[in-house]
Symmetry: D2
Subunit: 337 residues, 4 copies
């Protein structure tokens, strides 16, 4: 048995707590440091998982010399600086998406990130979902021949707090960004973005200038189509589905129910309980597998995947979608420029 990696966790909000649980559950990681300016949050998480060190200052954690890797789960505006500090300290970092809402700030960090050998992983956890990962493996294995059309249906159970929507960068940057990365998991070279947004049910969201619903069509360099259907609400639970259509067939990953139990009555048959209602349940396994893959990439000395450039690409696609939806035009993109 190898020595566990000592992990420093930055940020102890909802998503930080998910990572803390994953760090504790994984045999090869141990929670060594916890940082949060809201020190009570850091102390609580540290106590729960037995982390010996707590700080309000993320830089103290990064430069402690006592962490083998860090997980950045603090607010988005802090990501760029913390990644930069991690690179300076030579500490591998797994950073929650997005890198930043401002592509200029991302680009300013890009050269440094590329030049460094310190692994920087982006928290696109859905790539690690066992269902989507298996579908991806099979597409790679050629089971459906040449991939022609990828259909992503992605609906959240309920809209986020309006305060979040105000600062999130909008639906394309806070929600669709996961689907943009999923698109690139299958079709890395996206060359065109066509997006439409609508206000279908929330006057509140409309009032702050965002959409509550969106449809995106992406075109890949090989002529592939990716369609993304988004809604910020879904009465029947978290709707997360994937279909890959190719020259030889189709692969489908459907929603995940709590059990296999089906009810038959005089009203209806084959009825199942609603889907899991929250991303923490639906993607619990994905978060653990994401962390494990990050650790494996460090151990094996290979670049982390998805990495910095994947985070940047998703943001570029989101920006193009914003423009396309606003102007009613298809927008060409060059993710490698």
């Amino acid at each position: 048995m190898t020595t566990p990696f000592k992990i420093g966790l930055i940020g102890t909000g909802r998503i930080g707590q998910v990572h803390a649980a994953s760090i504790a559950a994984l045999n090869e990681t141990t929670l060594q440091w916890v940082a949060d300016p809201f020190i009570e949050g850091a102390q609580k998480v540290a106590a729960q998982y037995g982390a010996p060190n707590v700080t309000a200052d993320a830089l103290e954690l990064i430069n402690s010399g006592d962490v083998d890797a860090i997980v950045i789960a603090s607010p988005t505006p802090t990501h760029v600086d913390l990644i930069s500090a991690a690179i300076d300290a030579g500490v591998p970092a797994l950073c929650e998406k997005p890198i930043d809402l401002d592509i200029a700030r991302v680009d300013a960090l890009r050269e440094k990130a590329s030049a460094s050998s310190t692994p920087i992983a982006l928290g696109f956890n859905r790539r690690f979902d066992p269902h989507f990962a298996e579908l991806h493996r099979r597409v790679q294995a050629g089971q459906i021949g040449k991939l022609e059309q990828l259909t992503i249906i992605s609906r959240d159970p309920a809209e986020p707090p309006i305060e979040y929507v105000k600062v999130s960068g909008g639906i394309f940057r806070d929600m669709t960004i996961h689907d943009f990365d999923m698109a690139r998991f299958f079709v890395p070279e996206i060359v065109e973005v066509t997006a439409r947004g609508a206000n279908q049910f929330s006057e509140e969201i409309a009032a702050v200038g965002d959409y509550d619903s969106a449809i995106v069509t992406l075109r890949g360099a090989g002529g592939e189509f990716v369609t993304i259907t988004n809604s910020r609400h879904s009465s029947y639970g978290y709707d997360q589905r994937l279909e890959a259509f190719g020259s030889l067939g189709m692969l489908q990953a459907t929603n995940v129910g709590p059990t296999t139990v089906r009810l038959y009555t005089e009203e209806q048959v084959e009825a199942q309980a609603p889907y899991q209602n929250f991303f923490l349940e639906r993607y619990a396994a994905a978060y653990q597998l994401e962390l494990a893959a990050f650790i494996a990439s460090i151990r094996e000395g290979v670049p982390a995947s998805p990495g910095f450039d994947d985070g940047r690409a998703a943001l570029l696609l989101a920006n193009a979608a914003v423009q396309s939806a606003a102007e009613g035009v298809s927008v060409a993109v060059d993710l490698n420029a």
Copy 2:
């Protein structure tokens, strides 16, 4: 286009009307004669489907010289005499099950039926159901290797009128008899019958000495098991399923819904409308295909299947089940004796 077969229909009750519709729908048959002692019934059916001849006397129909084949859908006690008359007249007959409730009367006709070349078909329509027939074809084709276990689940939507139950011969002879034939469709040589009956919900049925629920285990000459699960009611519609388990795999035929539409709400997901509620809907295609197969067997000069001996075998199994359920013992049977 060949000349349509002129069909004589005997009996214009519920099941007779089903056959009349099939005769009208099939290109190669035409309804030529209709017989029923309740002459108004015969006249009504004849008018609906344009049959030129009506009689209260089934023998007049059989001996008219004006029918190429007959369908016997009159009450069970008339079957033996009508089959006998059809053999005498050399007119092929498709007779509804059962041949008779009294095995002695069936056996008295058996030698005559065997000696005659006149095709006598028994109305075990479920063998012709497209779903079950396809499953059977695949078992025969070896898709699951050697058949080891056949599971038949067969529940009626609702119990029949109590007047019917009083004269039907009981659940094993009026309901399970279809499943006995289905068992023999896959495992012709049944050698042992074990049956249990229960009164689970109907005091009325209990009061007339019948069961409302039954479980039967059959053993085939090759060691195969067949289990039959029966109930005289089912809230969610007609429950008719089949599973064939073998050395290499399993084949399953599930229930048939009215459409593919599924509903997703905050209460439940993937809910479908209840199954078809009546055997006429569920087995509409089966009745037409049964008639077509009967006509084909006449045209091709091959024995009708299922035939007289299949009707007798089902009754022997029902009788053994009655004994097994009453005495709590497994009963050996020899269907060829």
Copy 3:
């Protein structure tokens, strides 16, 4: 029993033969006249279904005074003139889609069609598919609340002959046109069309300037989104699915398999036979129900639905899609102009 409607059938190609079968199968219709310049075709169909009259001249049929209604299944360029003649003769007509490939020709007939009380129905048979019709009924009944997103996946088993593609008007006018009408079945007032086309697998189709794949996003006047995913091939059979997503839930109509039989082996479980491979099988019921609805609208004196303006609307949407795909812009449409 009412007297059957005497139907005149114009055109005896593939789709004309489908209608001939429906006319014969329906109790309330009888095939009275058959017209085709290829007279042998007309004679063959007439013989098969017992139609007493045959002509090479469609106008002779329309003006015979011996038809209660006509079905127009001749080549597209003849539709406008035949509809016009039917209106002149006061003979109700069910015309195959599209009315014409040239919107100017359609518009030239529009006023006449609107002014006339002669029922003109358009052959958008999919509205009558039992699965899609049931889904529509449930949306109308409010089962999913306010409709927000409609997802149409529509893939043909295989590309049509290249000679057809050359004259068909392209994928949006020959294939997507069905989906445009399906969109309008749920969201009649479409106000915006965004389309992308691609050449994913057929060099032959690319060579004649058409797409083999297309993605369309429609926006309704009430803010609804409709997405259409098209491919001209599908290895696993005819892929025809519909999802309606609303404020209270989702309704889904999935593909139709030949039977309910599922296979379980050491290789895979729950495997079903591929879907029906051809529109005549998949939509056989739809064609009969379409004809029955057309006859009912005549009997009841109500306008046929879908009617002339629905045919025009689908063509307008197809034209807008052609423009959108070519120019990379979303195109506003006014179907009522």
Copy 4:
């Protein structure tokens, strides 16, 4: 956070290792002692999960004063003595099934077990499977009205080693015993057992006098039927299904696949990967939940369930099945005698 329970594990074979993993995974338990006469096995498990104490002598473990509860996973013949010693020491015990193959030995311990307040739980883990537990909850909640028929299909992926079959007590005592307990989970008062056994595929198993396939029908005191279908092999993986049929409807728990991914090709559609192949995967959650329930019963001072009498009842049913299968008679049982 409460202090974790110190657990002593007796037996480190296949099933012992499963329990060791559950003890380590559960927050409220810690592995304190490991006992196995094969001391290297005990040492290996202790090292893997950080247990500080190892012994070859189970009694040393039980009487160490250093365990809050024990898990007995040693060979069946040791169970009675170890349970007895646990009662003497006042140490709660979770014992693997069966208690013993000899009902006389079980009965000899019965009075002592009943008189003691020390919780004795029996390892019928399937009651804790999330799918079956949810189905049970819903039956209890009245979703299907009065339970009438329970259908248990239970097929192992492959036959066990023949050396195991020789000493296991036969299929009814080593395999069906799980299904007998599942039957009693829903219908505690079983009053009649009817069983048939067969040798369908394994000459080796036949040679040692056991069956490789069995069908059992149980009758409950309330007239309920339970049918059990067993096979010692299943090409498509572990086949574990449950259907509860009642006056108002049916509840079904189907098999569990590794992911939701389905494949569509020209060969077949909706095909999924085979089911999990081994009870450790299929019932991993069940083992953890079983342990958690055992600990909870100790904490709350309530009797463990399923308990000693449930273990005895399952053995009584197995014995009745042996007799029924051998003699071809239904056997009345009184589980409370």
